[in-house]
């Protein structure tokens, strides 16, 4: 057979072989604490989004945290993640300005494993480790306590960890001692030196009575 026909056959067969090999060398899933051992390698990382912003040139810089370790995901593109979402990113480990980061070429390689609204945490957990959730969207369960015009107290069943929820209680239909699930932003109120929950008019925020 002539070389020009053989070239077609070998090209297609070669691509098939490389495809097979590429499926064998998939990126490894790593803990954020081990990232420095994987420089130049393709890895999969997971974590909660604690910071995210888009540069003027359209790249997204996302900070994720997992088991008290955090790293930056540099995404060439933009994806609609929110603070508090649990995401998975696949990319190459690189060092930039002395910091480790995972460089992701395409937004297809960043997936949301769980939206923050679907990760329910008890109020007690929030009270014991507030620094982990500071600035994030959270979905917390607890009980309504004293209700005022622009805020109400939200506490656990033993009334040990009360927190102020800034919202318009009249907008929602609940009464004292009812079990609630609140989707809102957990932030530090520096004026009053306390943590609060803010429930605004954003689409994913709200107060729901458990069981209704």
């Amino acid at each position: 057979m002539q070389l020009k026909y053989l070239s077609i056959i070998f090209s297609v067969a070669g691509i098939a072989l490389l495809y097979f090999l590429s499926t064998l060398s998939q990126p490894v899933s790593i803990d954020l604490k081990d990232i420095q051992n994987y420089e130049g390698k393709q890895v999969i990382v997971e974590g909660i989004v604690t910071e995210s912003y888009t540069t003027t040139l359209g790249s997204q810089i996302i900070t994720i945290e997992n088991n008290n370790f955090s790293t930056t995901v540099f995404l060439q593109g933009e994806t609609d993640i929110e603070y508090g979402d649990k995401i998975q990113a696949t990319g190459e480990v690189q060092i930039y300005n002395g910091e480790w980061e995972v460089v992701v070429n395409n937004k297809r390689f960043v997936s949301i494993l769980q939206k923050w609204q679907n990760i329910t945490i008890p109020l007690k957990q929030l009270a014991e480790t507030p620094n982990i959730y500071n600035g994030l969207n959270v979905n917390v369960t607890g009980y309504a306590d004293a209700i005022y015009d622009t805020y109400f107290y939200f506490t656990d069943i033993d009334k040990k960890h009360p927190i102020v929820v800034i919202c318009n209680p009249l907008k929602y239909n609940f009464t004292t001692n009812q079990e609630l699930s609140i989707a809102g932003k957990f932030v530090f109120d520096s004026d009053n030196f306390r943590y609060i929950l803010e429930v605004g008019d954003e689409p994913n925020q709200g107060i729901f009575v458990v069981g209704e």
Binding site: L3, K4, S7, I8, F10, S11, V12, G14, I15, L17, L18, Y19, L21, S22, S25, G40, K41, Q42, T55, L57, G58, Y96, N105, N106
Partner: protein, 447 residues
């Protein structure tokens, strides 16, 4: 004063290194830049004595960037030598091989090198003249880059269609050798090569390569060496061309040729600037755009245009690094890693860009004279060189480099890429269709 002297010194060293990397076939400037990046720590340490003269560590890193920039610009001048004399092009020079190589076979190898030098030198001058214009169009206040980014998917589709539809090769199938059908087969075959290369690109971007010497290079290195380098070398061995004695004479342009060359330099440079801004398209695609835009396919003008595209791209990737903050080449990735990139927002250029511009311009001027001198030496002695042996050594050299930078998987990628790269050579269509390797994955990225 010492700082300026050091900039000039590192620029000269860069030009000399660029001569070596440009003449060595198969060694792409991106690989050189990444090697230098990995050695930067040792270079800073070895230059530690400069601290005593008030030179800071930051400035030493700037000097390394000046060096890398000078290497890259010098490389774009000198890589014409192996593509003319050996027929061993990189992807960037693949299109000029046929014209340059055919001039060599007519004994006009030196003329090919000189035409290429004119194209590159012209591009340096043109790029310098339009630097502010491009800056204001691409960056603030016009922000054309942001607009282009929005419609990038369609731009890339248009470029791909243009690439395929302008194929003029004839393929005689089913014993049809007249009428328009052979041309239609040519276009269909071009589309097939484009798609095969694209699928190949998608597959290899998921392959992990490992360097046995710890200097991992992108998987594109063996892929491009295979698509554009080895097929020509293998064809050279198979066809055993006889290289005649080379004629060395000064190029004399008449008025028409002079005008035509100026148009080649301008269109080539504009295409090169475009290549430096749009991801996924290479100098060879830029040349097709430029040649289509000006509607001329004379081989001498092709050489000038391609060299202008190649050098303008090498020039503007550096400028783009400060305007759009995007690294579009190995050299700019290295520069971006080493020094702070201050966005060029105002009239005044960032200081680091000024240093690198000195390297680009001084490097360009020096390279012009060096490449003419070296081209002359090659032309004088080339008829006495055992050509087949030289080609075999070149092939072995490329294979060794691929193994050192990308290991066994890299060798496999090289092999498959070579078969794909042989398709256009064997079937007589343009090799640039192999650019599907970048165009298809990047188009999908913008989908």
């Amino acid at each position: 004063m010492l700082d300026i002297l050091l900039i000039i010194l590192f620029c000269i060293l860069g030009v000399i290194t660029g001569i070596a990397t440009g003449i060595l076939p198969g060694l792409h400037v991106n690989n050189v830049a990444l090697i230098l990046l990995s050695l930067s720590g040792s270079i800073v340490a070895s230059l530690g004595f400069l601290f005593n003269y008030g030179i800071t560590e930051q400035f030493i890193l700037v000097l390394i960037c000046v060096y890398i920039t000078a290497v890259s610009i010098s490389h774009t001048f000198h890589d014409t030598i192996p593509s003319t004399f050996l027929g061993a092009p990189e992807e960037d020079t693949a299109l000029s091989v046929l014209p340059a190589h055919s001039l060599l076979l007519e004994g006009k190898g030196y003329e090919a090198v000189a035409l290429s030098a004119i194209g590159s030198y012209g591009a340096v001058i043109f790029c310098f003249l339009v630097i502010y214009l491009v800056r204001f169009i691409v960056g603030s206040p016009m922000f054309l880059y942001s607009v282009v980014r929005e419609i990038m998917f369609w731009i890339l589709i248009a470029i791909s269609l243009l690439l395929i539809a302008t194929e003029k090769g004839r393929i005689e199938l089913f014993k049809i050798d007249h009428g328009k059908l052979p041309y239609v087969f040519g276009i269909l075959f071009a589309a097939m090569i484009f798609i095969i290369s694209g699928v190949f690109g998608i597959v290899i971007f998921n392959c992990q390569v490992d360097s046995p010497i710890g200097l991992s290079s992108p998987v594109l290195f063996p892929a491009l060496a295979g698509l554009f380098g080895l097929p020509t070398l293998l064809t050279s061995i198979m066809t055993k061309p006889k290289i005649p004695l080379q004629i060395i004479e000064k190029i004399n342009f008449d008025n028409k040729a002079k005008k035509s060359s100026i148009i080649s330099v301008i269109t080539g440079s504009l295409a090169g600037i475009l290549v430096s801004l749009i991801p996924g398209i290479s100098s060879s695609t830029g040349t097709i755009l430029a040649m289509t835009a000006r509607g001329e396919s004379d081989r001498k003008q092709t050489i000038i245009t391609l060299s202008a595209v190649n050098t303008a791209c090498g020039f503007f990737v550096i400028v783009a690094l400060f305007v759009i903050l995007r690294a579009r080449s190995g050299a700019t990735i290295a520069v971006g890693e080493l020094i702070a990139l201050e966005e060029w927002k105002d009239i005044m250029m960032p200081t680091n860009l000024i240093y690198l511009l000195i390297a680009l311009i001084l490097g360009g001027v020096l390279s012009y004279f060096f490449v003419l001198k070296i081209g002359k030496i090659f032309a004088k002695h080339f008829a006495n060189v055992p050509y087949a042996l030289l080609i075999k050594i070149t092939i072995a050299f490329v294979i060794i480099l691929v193994y050192l930078f990308t290991g066994v998987i890299g060798l496999l990628v090289l092999l498959v890429a070579t078969f794909i790269g042989l398709l256009p050579v064997q079937w007589g269509v343009r090799r640039s269709h192999c650019m599907g390797i970048l165009l298809i994955p990047i188009t999908l990225y913008f989908l």
